[in-house]
């Protein structure tokens, strides 16, 4: 019926949505600056395939965590417990494996079970006890970190060479970890774009009351996104255990994965208020983050100046497309 009217009215050109393309534009700008920096400093040897892979490979753990964080931020929640969960799973897995290849499967299973448990606890505290997600996950984070530090204070256990394939292995000339990251991103994209659950996520994030009245079980959606987020943090923990060949109780906190994953997601155009955004923005955000580091390295920026600039760049990147919003932000 409406097809007929569409046929008569000249189709309007699809409008260019700056917000939607901002992460891609930022990424292109970062790449351009990186290339310019390499050329200007005469370090063109960095402009090759293997170095590109190195740039991407640097932030696999952050990327995996950020994919999970995207899910919770899309439902207008947030997860601050990922950093301590990363430490906990890395230690748990490497202690269970303890160098034995036969223990890889039980170790991974135990780590994933821990992830599901933490996600369920987060989700249930938020939905059933009505605790603000920031406070709930901060509290859970303190509990995990406390339990962890009560048992281990240094590198514990060890990872068998077979499991180090996760971080160091190659498939068809491309590091396995990078393939894994992109496979995870594609899976997340498919879930968000093509499944009913994905649509429910956007509905709940957009307006929780409206989603509830539309018959969506909002609590279930929020709990499941938290389980997904915790599972992603678990995978990041397993990756770090594989890369460091052992787990330590500080690797999550040292990487500041909680706040950095949130920053990456927001730079990628996902709105903290929920309901808008997507996985590819997050992937672009992760790339932007590692490119910024690479640019600083190429230019030889002092470590402390680097940190100062980094904070400013995070704010500027978000401001770039948030500044035109007419809403009052939280």
């Amino acid at each position: 019926m409406s097809d007929a009217t569409v046929g008569q009215v000249p189709a309007t050109r699809p409008r260019f949505h700056f917000d939607r393309w901002a992460p891609a534009l930022l990424l292109m700008a970062a790449v351009a600056i990186y290339v310019a920096a390499c050329v200007m400093t005469g370090q063109t040897q960095y402009l090759n395939w293997s170095n590109l892979l190195a740039v991407v490979g640097r932030s696999i753990a952050l990327g995996i965590t950020a994919i999970g964080q995207t899910f919770v931020i899309l439902v207008a929640s947030i997860d601050l417990s990922v950093a301590s969960l990363i430490s906990a799973t890395a230690v748990l897995a490497s202690v269970i494996m303890n160098g034995a290849p036969t223990m890889i499967v039980p170790a991974v299973a135990a780590a994933l079970a821990l992830g599901v448990t933490v996600g369920l606890v987060n989700g249930l505290i938020i939905t059933r006890l009505d605790v603000n997600p920031l406070i709930a996950t901060l509290g859970v984070s303190l509990v995990i970190q406390g339990c962890l530090s009560a048992f281990v204070s240094n590198f514990a256990g060890s990872v068998p060479p077979e499991f180090q394939f996760f971080a160091y292995g190659n498939l068809a000339g491309i590091p396995f970890a990078i393939l894994f990251f992109f496979a995870l991103a594609i899976a997340a994209f498919l879930v968000l774009r093509f499944t009913r659950f994905g649509s429910n996520i956007y509905a709940v994030g957009g307006n929780q009351d409206a989603a509830h009245f539309a018959g969506i079980s909002t609590r279930k959606v929020i709990v499941i996104t938290h389980v997904i987020c915790s599972l992603c943090a678990t995978l990041a923990g397993l990756y770090l255990a594989s890369r460091l060949r052992s787990g330590a109780p500080w690797i999550g906190a040292n990487g500041v994965y909680d706040l950095e994953s949130i920053a990456v997601v927001v730079i990628g155009g996902t709105v903290l208020a929920g309901g808008r955004g997507g996985i590819w923005g997050t992937v672009a955000g992760v790339m932007i983050f590692s490119l910024i580091d690479s640019i600083f390295n190429v230019l030889g920026v002092d470590a402390f100046v680097k940190q100062v600039l980094r904070g400013a760049i995070i704010v500027a990147a978000v401001a770039l497309y948030a500044a035109r919003s007419r809403r009052i932000v939280g």
Partner: protein
Amino acid sequence: MSDQILSTTPKAAHTRRLPQVNPVYFILAALIVAIILNNPAFAEPAGYMNFLKRAAPLAILAAGQLYVIVSGGFDLSVGSLITLVVVGSSMLLNNDPNATWWVIPVMFGIGLAVGLINGLVVCYLKVPSLIATLGMMITLNGFAFMWSGGAPRGYLPDSFRYFGRVNIMDVPLIRMLPVALIVLITVGFVLNWLMHRTNLGRMIHAIGDNPRAAQLAGVPVNRVRIIAFVVSSLSAVVTGILLGGFAGVSTDVGTGYELQAITAAVLGGAQLLGGRGSVPAAIAGALTLTAIFTLLNFLSLPQPVRQVVQGLILIVAVALAMYRRKRTGQ
């Protein structure tokens, strides 16, 4: 909508008969009794005055943070601002006791600038306060490192440490009176007056409750929010000056204080995302948090257990507050 219906039901009327006292005061009283039972020396002036002295920095910080929380935002930059104040003061003072009189105003100037930038970025660049102040946190940490060259040296002269460290002795009735407590009472009084007795405080509440409605009612939203961020930053400067009095000069003096301040405000019944909060209750929340740490210290529990307990208390306190709010229909 349903809230109003609830409050007219007989059940709600029944619960109304109880006087509405913020539960944080009961928790604080119970904790103090528990501490005295564990350690009778706490009831002596030397015991509780030292406790108040130790709690004063966090209490002031929580009262400042409350302004931002009630206006509907977060200020994560206070912890690194504290660090910058302590490190910067030691660099500027350069072991010269006579420099204190101009170093302290310089620090307040830095605090004013940081608060203004936070507020301007949030209001005009529309960056969510979580990200804006996170960026500021990273940047200020970088500045603290840059200023001190990574390894802060020197110590703070006694004239600077006066505020945080000295007890005025031979005071009638209480024998000793820490200067930090005088600072806390003064700052607490001013912030309480500003929040609960002036139009500014009412406007902050209105913005946190419903920014759009406040704007339509003629509240200068941006100006008020900027003032809230400035108050928070200035309170962080006061906290830094007090902490410089008893902690040493290092680049992690302020680490974690931002989350403790938010925790304290939430324990005091402040509602994250705005619209509700009280300065005395936030101060009581800070005292409660310090009392919990003191009690755990007396019970000689190891550090990890403290973390677990802090996490659990955080979740339980907010869950109870939400439960209570639902029951009383407020």
